[in-house]
């Protein structure tokens, strides 16, 4: 496989040879690393359908994802052509860009930064330490250059049109300083965590950053539509002392200078913007990097001391199991399912963004009310008069998706254990894990939205909220019946992406349908139909649940 970046690198061969780096060895290492990276799937592409076969094709996934990064740059791109003062504008762009570069670096390139596998392989080969560290540095630089450029392509073009080519070039220049700052802060963060905690904590952090990134990208897109509403916001900048602490302000200050606003504050900020990154990079190579390497070996270790929170969770789990499950087998699986669901990083990465969005959805929709009405009280009144409590469906809509995910686990090969245990049929196993999933992931968005609606509308919406919840459980059972049931945690995430899409689509479609039917119910002025539906649903739920899960080992979908 040949990489364009390596061919460009070849022109600088003399530079490396001059510093005693074995260029051909370094190139080989880089080639291997880039090949391995090309088979990873970056967060921004995660939602796309992937099959294990895709790993074999030789297209570079990383490079393909550059298009996605370029798409992300639309957000700051729109900013760059808006009629706001240049200092505020560039501060904003820099802020967004720093956030995006840093979080992409943490979520997608942590494996590059934290690679200790290569130590085991490369350190045994006759290659000098100098060559190895050169390879590592070049590897990171190749990626940072590509991502930073792509994440800023739209603002670069936008600025060139709006403020002139000079501004665009200046942005490119300041981005380099920005990247230095990002490298420093990222490695500082890593060192801090590795020094004080263990590898598991760091991995948790990385996956939380991935979740935050996914949520903010989705919200960011929502924001683009509303962006022009902010034009009337006062972005005229009055410097306060704490502005000096904000790196985006440093990098935006030179733009104020070239636009003619020459003041002490902008001078100071500009100097900081040049001096600090250089200081950071110096500190990085001299202090942080060696500390980083020292602590890197802790990456795969995890403390043996269990935290208080862990024991508290065990207790809660036990109480919940007793409360919600009848048989002791079911209680055991409930606790087991709850633990697995709580500890699967990959699952959380997929589920948490949808959870967050389902909580935020009512607010996003609520914004349209605020836009349509002059005053807040008018908007509120209009809201109360509408049937917006049906938005609670957004919060329960994720249940079908979650149920589809339960068959997956990172350690799906551990599923042999079910068959070695004396379990008559999978009923208790399924019932316990499904309940644990509904409690673990489904209840929070529902309770949150339902409480909100109760506060807004008063107690009369309570039956509606309960019907919405019961409806979703019925929907889950319906999907399980039509799609077939697979043992919990017995499939890898890679293989079954297809099923998730299908589950999500089915879930959305039918949740919409149910919400529509529910709407018809609200049209009646009498409460009799409402109570009747609620009664029928409550009575029918448990028998249907039992009936759906009453299957034999041989009925499981393989």
């Amino acid at each position: 496989m040949s990489f364009r970046s390596l061919r460009i690198l070849d022109r600088f061969k003399f530079l490396f040879t001059k510093f005693d780096v074995d260029y051909s060895a370094m190139r080989k290492i880089l080639e291997l690393k880039l090949t391995m990276d090309s088979r990873r799937i970056p967060t921004v592409l995660k939602d796309k359908k992937t099959s294990s076969l895709d790993y074999i094709d030789d297209g570079n996934k990383m490079l393909k994802s550059l298009w996605m990064y370029a798409m992300l740059s639309l957000m700051p791109g729109v900013l760059s052509i808006m009629p706001i003062p240049i200092f505020g504008k560039v501060s904003f762009i820099m802020g967004i860009s720093m956030f995006l570069v840093m979080s992409t670096m943490i979520s997608d390139f942590s494996s590059v930064l934290l690679d200790i596998r290569d130590k085991n392989i490369l350190m045994t080969l006759p290659v000098s330490a100098k060559t190895l560290s050169a390879a590592k540095t070049v590897h990171i630089i190749i990626y940072l250059t590509m991502i930073t450029f792509c994440l800023n392509i739209a603002p670069l073009i936008g600025l060139a049109f709006n403020e002139g080519i000079l501004a665009s070039l200046l942005l490119l220049f300041m981005l380099c300083f920005m990247v230095m700052t990002v490298i420093f802060f990222t490695s500082l963060l890593y060192v801090f965590i590795l020094k004080n905690f263990d590898g598991e904590k760091l991995k948790d952090l990385i996956s939380s950053i991935q979740i935050v990134l996914t949520i903010s990208i989705t919200l960011g897109y929502q924001m683009i539509a509303h962006m022009y509403d902010f034009t009337d916001l006062n972005l005229h900048f009055t410097p306060k002392w704490w502005t000096l602490l904000l790196p985006p302000a440093w990098f935006a200050a030179p733009f104020a200078l070239i636009s003619g606003e020459r003041s002490m504050v902008y001078m100071t900020l500009t100097i900081l913007g040049v001096v600090m990154p250089i200081l950071f990079i110096y500190l990085h190579t001299q202090v942080i990097s060696p500390m980083f390497e020292q602590n890197l070996s802790k990456l795969n270790s995890s403390g043996t001391g269990a935290s208080k929170a862990y024991f508290r969770r065990l207790k809660t789990r036990g109480h919940l199991a007793k409360l919600l499950c009848k048989s002791s087998d079911e209680q055991a699986t409930f606790k087991f399912g709850y633990s697995v669901l709580s500890s699967e990083r990959e699952l959380k990465q997929k589920v948490y963004p949808s959870m967050a969005l389902s909580i935020l959805f009512p607010f996003i929709l609520g914004m349209t009310f605020l836009e349509d009405y002059e005053s807040t009280s008018e908007a509120l009144a209009a809201f109360r008069n509408s049937k917006s409590y049906l938005w609670v469906y957004f919060s329960v809509m994720i249940l079908p998706t979650i149920i589809m995910f339960i068959k997956n686990s990172q350690h799906y090969k551990g599923a042999w254990i079910y068959r070695s245990l004396p379990i008559e049929n999978p009923k208790a196993l399924l019932s316990g894990t499904f309940k644990s999933a509904i409690i673990r992931f489904g209840m929070l968005p529902y309770i949150f939205t339902a409480t909100l609606m109760l506060l807004m509308y008063g107690p009369f919406v309570l039956p509606h909220l309960i019907i919405a919840f019961l409806n979703t459980i019925y929907l889950v059972l319906f999907i399980l019946r039509t799609e077939g049931i697979i043992l919990p945690f017995s499939r890898s995430f890679q293989v079954s992406q297809d099923g998730h899409m299908k589950g999500t689509m089915l879930g959305m479609f039918f949740a919409g349908l149910l919400a529509g039917l529910h709407y018809l119910l609200t049209l009646s002025s009498s409460t009799v139909p409402l109570i009747a539906v609620l009664l029928i649903q409550s009575i029918g739920l448990i028998p249907l649940w039992k009936n759906t899960l009453q299957i034999n080992w041989s009925d499981l979908k393989s």
């Binding site: 036990g318 606790k335 697995v340 068959r419 004396p422």
Partner: protein, 261 residues
Amino acid sequence: MQQPILAVKGLKKSFDTNDVLKGINFEVYPGQIIGYIGPNGAGKSTTVKIFLGMIEKDEGDIEILGKSLESGDWDYKNRIGYVPEQSEVYENLTAHEYLSFVGELYGMTSELIDEKAQGLMTLFGIEDSYHARISSYSKGMRQKLLIIASMIHDPDILFLDEPLSGLDANSVMIFKEILARLKARGKTIFYSSHIMEVVENISDRILILSGGEIVADGSFDELKAQSTEGSLQEIFNALTGFHEHAGIAAKFVEILERRSS
């Protein structure tokens, strides 16, 4: 005559066109340690998985604990322990969480599970990790956990597939002694391994599986009497028709010595 605790008659199993087991017959009596050996792919793990109901047999009769094994039977698993060859577990869980799940499904109370698990882990020297995630365990610790998980309910039959992998020499000694004591208490142990020395010195009886058939069945002394070879390793090679080891090794070294000209 004692009743066999496990009896297999004409057991056959094929995957697609590959006949893995071509009619296996043997009987196992309580208090025996059976060494079940054979080359890679001979069908050892498949046999054990059929006993546990993880795979359906094609043909033949199996009797476990005096009862004929029908598809869908599950109660007998209360008296069986199993250590699989691949030590795959839900490693995001802590040992406590994993053992609780296993133990509670064996019908034990959580107090008893905690008491036994912590006691056993202490004896294996890994009690500090009871509340740590299994992903942080070394290979040996993980194996110890699997061994505990397979025995925590005090089963009558143990199916152990390569149970020593990753254990250090001292733990191996403890483990062998545990097996001897379990045997003395009338437990039956069905033991698969590639390490011939261990099989040779712990087994009462050795079954050699090759090409989907049992090619040898008897105590080590009986096998030695039938053969001209001295060690189990040599008997194994002779019975599984493998004689080329010297030739392959010679060629291997020859290729290593090649230099680019």
